[in-house]
Point group: C2
Chain length 545, copies 2
Amino acid sequence: MLIYIAQLNPKVGALSHNTEKIIHALNRARLEKAEIVIFPESAISGYPPEDLLLYNNFIDQMEKELEKIIEASQNLFVVVGTIRRNTEIRGKPLFNSAAVIYDKKLLGYKDKTLLPTYDVFVEKRYFESSHIQKVFEYKGKKIAIAICEDVWANSDDELKKYKQDPVEDIKKLNPDLLINISASPYYYQKKDLRIKVLSKVAKTLRCPHIMCNQVGANDQLVFDGHSMCFDKEGVLIAEAKGFVEDHFLIDIEKPNPQSIFKTDPLSELYSALVLGVKDYFRKLNLSKACIGLSGGIDSALVLCIAADALGPHNVFALNMPSRYSSLSSFEDSNKIAANLRVEMLDIPIDHMYQQYLDLLSPLFAGKSFDTTEENLQARIRGMILMAISNKLDYIVLSTGNKSEMAMGYVTLYGDMCGGLGVLTDVSKTLVYALAKWINRKKEIIPQSIIKKAPSAELKADQKDQDVLPEYSIVDKVLEGYVEDHLSIEEIVKKYNLDITLVTELVERIHRAEYKRRQGPPGIRVSKKAFTKGRYFPIVQGWISE
Amino acid sequence: MLIYIAQLNPKVGALSHNTEKIIHALNRARLEKAEIVIFPESAISGYPPEDLLLYNNFIDQMEKELEKIIEASQNLFVVVGTIRRNTEIRGKPLFNSAAVIYDKKLLGYKDKTLLPTYDVFVEKRYFESSHIQKVFEYKGKKIAIAICEDVWANSDDELKKYKQDPVEDIKKLNPDLLINISASPYYYQKKDLRIKVLSKVAKTLRCPHIMCNQVGANDQLVFDGHSMCFDKEGVLIAEAKGFVEDHFLIDIEKPNPQSIFKTDPLSELYSALVLGVKDYFRKLNLSKACIGLSGGIDSALVLCIAADALGPHNVFALNMPSRYSSLSSFEDSNKIAANLRVEMLDIPIDHMYQQYLDLLSPLFAGKSFDTTEENLQARIRGMILMAISNKLDYIVLSTGNKSEMAMGYVTLYGDMCGGLGVLTDVSKTLVYALAKWINRKKEIIPQSIIKKAPSAELKADQKDQDVLPEYSIVDKVLEGYVEDHLSIEEIVKKYNLDITLVTELVERIHRAEYKRRQGPPGIRVSKKAFTKGRYFPIVQGWISE
């Protein structure tokens, strides 16, 4: 029984486009003699469709697209993710569903049981949960179906505890195969956890477990693909590639040796960022990006990612020195642009900066230099980048990293300008690790950039560490407070840090909430991003007053 | 049996501060001979506490604050909103709960059944639902307790259909009184619906229904208070004031004549906006605002709201003319500032604008004037406002209205700069209505401002209607598409509009998503705001590609 796992990259809301991809895969699967074809969760709408689901005609159109898929299914057993109406009078109006089709007939639906509503997920906003587990018979085999979260009840994550575990109920049905359609987003080092969870389900059910995952970036979420097949002992026996559309064929009764990819967390992180940029542009029909180069490591890394995602010829770098910019920054910017074959232009901003100082001096008489003047420089740069964006159709990529976003060490409407914040979910620690990974074969990012002390160069002899502790400490607090929801006391204990320091850093995180609220959308690559799936009040009295 | 309804204004997360307010109300109630005291939903944490709930020590501290309240409850029967742990092994870790206390003893909890997860609500992110309804006996009376949404199952709103109606189960318990603790946010013209829904519950249960609502603004949500008492016939017999902390006393066995306030939708809308500004500043320990005046109606209205919320002496207006600004705009700005006794300063920006044109001219050679140059002017103004904000501690209030935000007829990092977008949820139609309402007794907003054709004055002889249809049409599409989730075809039919025009406007709404994502937080005053409770992908293929 040959099974074709179609790991597709849908575009959210592009129903007919996504359906064409599905039908194309069906035809290819038939050519390859497959009997069963599996698609990801919400393959017709793309995941997550968000509030498009509140439009009745969106649901109507999905029904029509499903009809086309049914029509194109001759001789195939197909499992495809869709969204359908809940026809009961009570309960949320929709089900997140798997349509099960055989040979141009709809056999039925398996509706999702566990509706993730935590972190980046808000499925209970739209969907009713179904408590019915069932198997579909095909050639004497009992095929059970799960949708993504349905197999994650036992993942030991406090934040998504459920009252039931669908796998327990599926087990009672003695399936011969579990087909799991997923839209499981990537985060750094998640793959090991996913293998562990999915493998355990195969062992529990004592049957093979095939998971077909969505791939591609939709807005801020990156889906890594890596569709997988586990045998009944829970051994991973086949895997699709990560971060690209792919498919594999497997006969679960007599599996052939298949590709299994070694997990390399930094390589995956880099691929996720590249895919995040690539799909954002491609799916918006955009091609060109511009980036302000500071001579620092963040903008150098963003330049690498952009050049990989869009091609160096589609990337435009700007060097915009003020009186506080060092010659070495200028040289370093030139070097990285040359290494990547990216065009770079110099637009000195000091004259403009002086104009603002003169304009504002009557108002600011007697006041000394402070962040106001620093922000002016960052905002002039933002304005120039945005003018280039408006006139020449470049999308500005913002370069602030997650540690800076946490600390508020970024200028709102300044270096925070941009259509996409490439590194807003990458800590400074990981920025360095990625830079070294990029240089693993040859020097692309100049060593001088990696080795210099971080500086915004917005005043004389400035260093980030004038106002912040070492980033290694910032990143521990970031991990403890933002990602793991530890209290100040727990962070002090876990990382052996000073309580005054930790308190100050946690207060900084909350004080910067108003900036982040207006930050560019980011590419979510950690298990807790600032830009998606995190809801904190700007006005609050828990921390810092 | 005298009941004291304590309509408090808590600050989210300020647990000990909120507890002090609660205890103060208990003492006052005792002085006034009350036997029962009722507080709003989540009175200890303030509503909505959002992801502060993910911190264990936040929950621990709420437990400690509740102990203080219990300790201060001598001789009183108290119902107070809190959040407590779900001690079962399975299910979400918390309950949204009412603690029921009598004379320094905790009698028990009533946990919330219906957890709103739609629009601005995400309660299923945090809470497990309780299916148990119960009554507490006090002096021979059976007191049932509901928490806000628990009584809204029958409100006929498609988006929040539930599988059960707790009122049906409460009815079986034959209560003598229903106490309903709420944190029910305001939106324009909601009050009539609320009265209808709450009144029906009293009639269904054939007992009095007392609803104690939170008041005050927390971040983007405004809670209007208007706590209410209905008799068993469903007649509204007592009401607390709107938009201020208040309390009332009622003896449900022999109710005295009480205040009932006439509903005036525009007056309430204005109060909501003023409270939104006031609480944002007060709860952040801020006092001063600056506003760029354009001579148009939006900035004039924001100036009125700010002067009311913060006092005219705390408001600073800037007039920043470019070569395209008219003399009449300058005069109108002067007039409104003078009428409100707000200080105004002129900072002409034309010289700075010319500097940017010169700086960019080598790059833009051969390209004609377009929105780039318009945006430059708006962004120079934004930079000046932000410099004043940074140096002199004024918070910038942004003035773009909801119709402009819908159409993307605003400049990102330009007029969208600001700590708070006062009108981001007020359509142009309502902006005019509010201006006329403000002028109902005497002219505060000059007639010339109200009568002139809307113009951004960013190029010669510019009018909004050069690129947009009349705002009356824009606002119909806004209402149909954004608030009511109608399809293009349904909007065409409902408002008798041209399909090409409606399609173009709907496409504009989606195209502007990337701008709104980086917009300032707004004050939510409609049933569907852009800035909170609306999730749309920037990258989507449903509308416009």
